[in-house]
Symmetry: C2
Subunit: 345 residues, 2 copies
Amino acid sequence: MPGVTLKTVAKAVGVSPSTVSNAYNKPDQLSTALRERILATAQELGYAGPDASARALRSGKAGAVGVLFTDKLAYAFSDPYAVGFLAGLAEVAEEFATSLLLMPLSSTDIAGGSNAVQQAAIDAAAIFCVPGGHPALEILANRGIPAVSTDRGDHPDLSWVAIDEVEAAAQLGEHLARLGHREVVVLVDNAQAAGGRPVELTLDEVGYTDCELRIQGLQKAMPDARLRIVSGGHNAIASGLKGAEFVLDSQDRPTAIVGLSDILALGALEAMKVRGLTPGRDLTLAGFDDIPAASTAGLTTVRQPIKDKGRAVGRILLDPATTERQLLMPTQLIVRSSSGPAPKH
Amino acid sequence: MPGVTLKTVAKAVGVSPSTVSNAYNKPDQLSTALRERILATAQELGYAGPDASARALRSGKAGAVGVLFTDKLAYAFSDPYAVGFLAGLAEVAEEFATSLLLMPLSSTDIAGGSNAVQQAAIDAAAIFCVPGGHPALEILANRGIPAVSTDRGDHPDLSWVAIDEVEAAAQLGEHLARLGHREVVVLVDNAQAAGGRPVELTLDEVGYTDCELRIQGLQKAMPDARLRIVSGGHNAIASGLKGAEFVLDSQDRPTAIVGLSDILALGALEAMKVRGLTPGRDLTLAGFDDIPAASTAGLTTVRQPIKDKGRAVGRILLDPATTERQLLMPTQLIVRSSSGPAPKH
DNA sequence: TCGTTTTTCTAGAACGATTTAGAAGAACGA
DNA sequence: TCGTTCTTCTAAATCGTTCTAGAAAAACGA
């Protein structure tokens, strides 16, 4: 049983290893009779087909696309937005009979080289919301692996599928400005607050470029408003809850809270419920992404076509017919009941 | 730039390839001074570290765990239940610095050997709700890849993490029986109905062992009830909707509908809403899994600890300290407003 | 000082396939 | 009949590592 290789089969059939290889990969290179004899013998010997690693090594194709996620991999699955992206990507991957390799980013030391990004056998990579300048990106670049990011990069030769963050946020900002809001808290994903207390940040401390751009877009559209940036931790319901609690229980209550993702906004919604605050009346709440739960919650948000984003990334990575390397996807302001006029005082 | 390998670096530094390899993998096998010189030279030459495929080939470790999903990979992401499983699995994978390889199951021809399961460079595999007897399972077995299934298999040496399907369904069945239901429709995931019209199936046609067991469990707990099995397609909201429409618009309305997953039940809920039927009063509705949306929808369901299931599978696959190979997880009936007494007539 | 252990490094053989270039024979056209 | 083209198969090189032994040098204990 142990050590049944191409060679074993070749010897058993009485042909060269090349022929056995061809039997699997290039059926038209040998007679059907021989091919069937080879396959039969292989079956008999318990040969499971060409070894994946060896094939990958020799042919230079791994048959897999890597996916890089922000922080903890497990978080990725708690955000429907990320899941939507994956669904789109998976759709295209499936079409091209390619697997998806989800790589953990955190944990192991990057410098030592013992990390997943270094070790991964992949042909290309999708980069989902990884902050620019992250060491993993450099590793990918060093390895010469083609990558597509969900954020617009600074390098002109980088591929990306993104939205106009500033413009998208500005749409929301205009909406809020028109409603008379001038005191706004922006809830962001931030590692600093992860384990402990909620923190108030400056724009420079935000870290993620896309978040920065969104905040800039908001500010641009509501120049008279005071924007405060608060984080309760990573991108999760609980963090939105914590961040909102911090804000709602302070002396300095805003008239509007904007979650930079729906997940954060939904967390804030829970904090409001607990305090008996009705969204859209007592306080305006808005999010970003338009995940399914946003509509049931009546959350005003900026919709982005996340599944299409995943598909587009997949096409750029896998479909040779796709030549466009940088794609701007449309966004749309979805107004629901959670936003209303700022209370006068 | 092209072709910078271990050898290139070795030659540049003036040491043997083995030493360069050790610099990356066994830092304690060489002096720190030399190691640093090697790493520096590597950097300089643009060497990105040992090639993943070559390493995998030689060392026999791919550093990845495969995940096998029912049918379309993209479907997996539309079901919060599957996503929850992935989250748990990802958590453990992360801990062991292992990547997750999601393999598309359908599309390409299994026999030809050009499919993902055959090609995947993985050390182990998690099998999520793949019907027994699926060719992919045989391929895995042939390749000698250790696997853990989310369904109890028939082979005693197979590893699995599962629930007692019969018992779990029986809990729900008792609840329904106590409420007086005798006309029940069970909504199942089925490929037959995928593209076209909803179908009514016999128990033998269901296909998935776990579904069969659940139906048996229901029947066991409510021996006097008539159970009909209906499918509107794959495991998705739309399928539940279609299946329920078919049932609700027929002459032969049941008093209770049981979705074999919450996703299917939620689809049925939509069909009821459209028809002005209140769950728990006009018709009883129940599901399986207890996904987050079930609680907001007030859906009676059978909870299973899905994230723990994912974690347990991960442990069996990756953690040498875990010796238990077959694990039965607890389930719990969660009664919510969607179930009520059967209308008397 | 001399044998012994430890540290540091190397040679060369795998690992299991695919690829390139080409050989042998069959089939073909004129 | 002879040169040409196909079809079918093969030999040998190669992909880029890691591993197994073991050599050379340094450190050690008595």
